[in-house]
Symmetry: C2
Subunit: 132 residues, 2 copies
DNA sequence: CTTGACTCCGTAGCACGGTACGGAGTATAT
DNA sequence: ATATACTCCGTACCGTGCTACGGAGTCAAG
């Protein structure tokens, strides 16, 4: 099992070098051992961990939540239910966000439909609707 | 037409005093005249401007975009079409965001469905899916 | 006239997730 | 041997939209 330099680990994890160091500062990946000259030596495991983080982000989890998920993973006391609960919170948040965006979309498309797209701004129904 | 202190204008605009000063720094509202002792004296107009900003935000516009909309409003060279164009960009962005969220939602609900919600984390399908 | 609410200013901080800088030392390929 | 690429560290900065602080001065009501 050979270890990886930060650059290689970053490439394999799909992030930048600075992001690796950022994750370390944030406690998302453990501090790796160092070479004699101070270079970080990452085990393969850290690469999967970085990918875990990225995948969780794609599902909408914040880094704070990712930290929790990671701590669940580490603790044998944690149950599947804890994870599902977090996922449920995520879901609700996603639903809320979708709803907000739909509202915006409806309002905006109504305004856009009212706007012919010609004439001066002084008669623009879009701006008009916002003015008052 | 009497002028308003920052506190009154803020209340009427539905924002905080600090927000008024922030908007001024950001060039979103004009610098008002001052009293002898340095107090800002806002015309009613500024209140509508603040409300304009708030409404545009509700439609998903960033403050940067709001600045553009405001400059359209000010310039007689700008046309309704410019505004509609910005609104179109907003729409596309909203659609993209909704799509992203839907993707997350789909993925997440699939994972949640696979998870019974009991047992140890070591067998949690949600975490499993993220690990690799 | 006093009290309390308001205002002034500049600067700093928050959350979020990174990104960049710069000067030094180290590793690697040729 | 040398050129090039990589790594180290601390700190500062990005964008987004505010929010907070603190000490001093001012205004309005009673």
């Amino acid at each position: 099992m050979k270890s990886l330099t930060i650059g290689r680990a970053a490439r394999l994890g799909g992030v930048g070098v600075e992001t690796m160091r950022f994750y370390e500062r944030e406690g998302l990946i453990p501090e790796p051992p160092r070479t004699f000259s101070g270079y970080r030596q990452y085990p393969q495991e850290t690469v999967s961990r970085v990918r875990f983080i990225k995948r969780a982000q794609e599902l909408g989890f914040t880094l704070k939540e990712v930290r929790e998920l990671l701590s669940f993973r580490a603790s044998p006391r944690a149950s599947c239910r804890d994870v599902k609960e977090k996922a449920g919170i995520r879901m609700e948040d996603i639903d809320r966000k979708i709803e907000d965006l739909r509202r915006m979309k409806r309002a905006l498309s109504k305004l856009m439909a009212a706007c012919e797209g010609r004439g001066s701004v002084s008669e623009c129904p879009i701006l008009d609707a916002m003015e008052r």
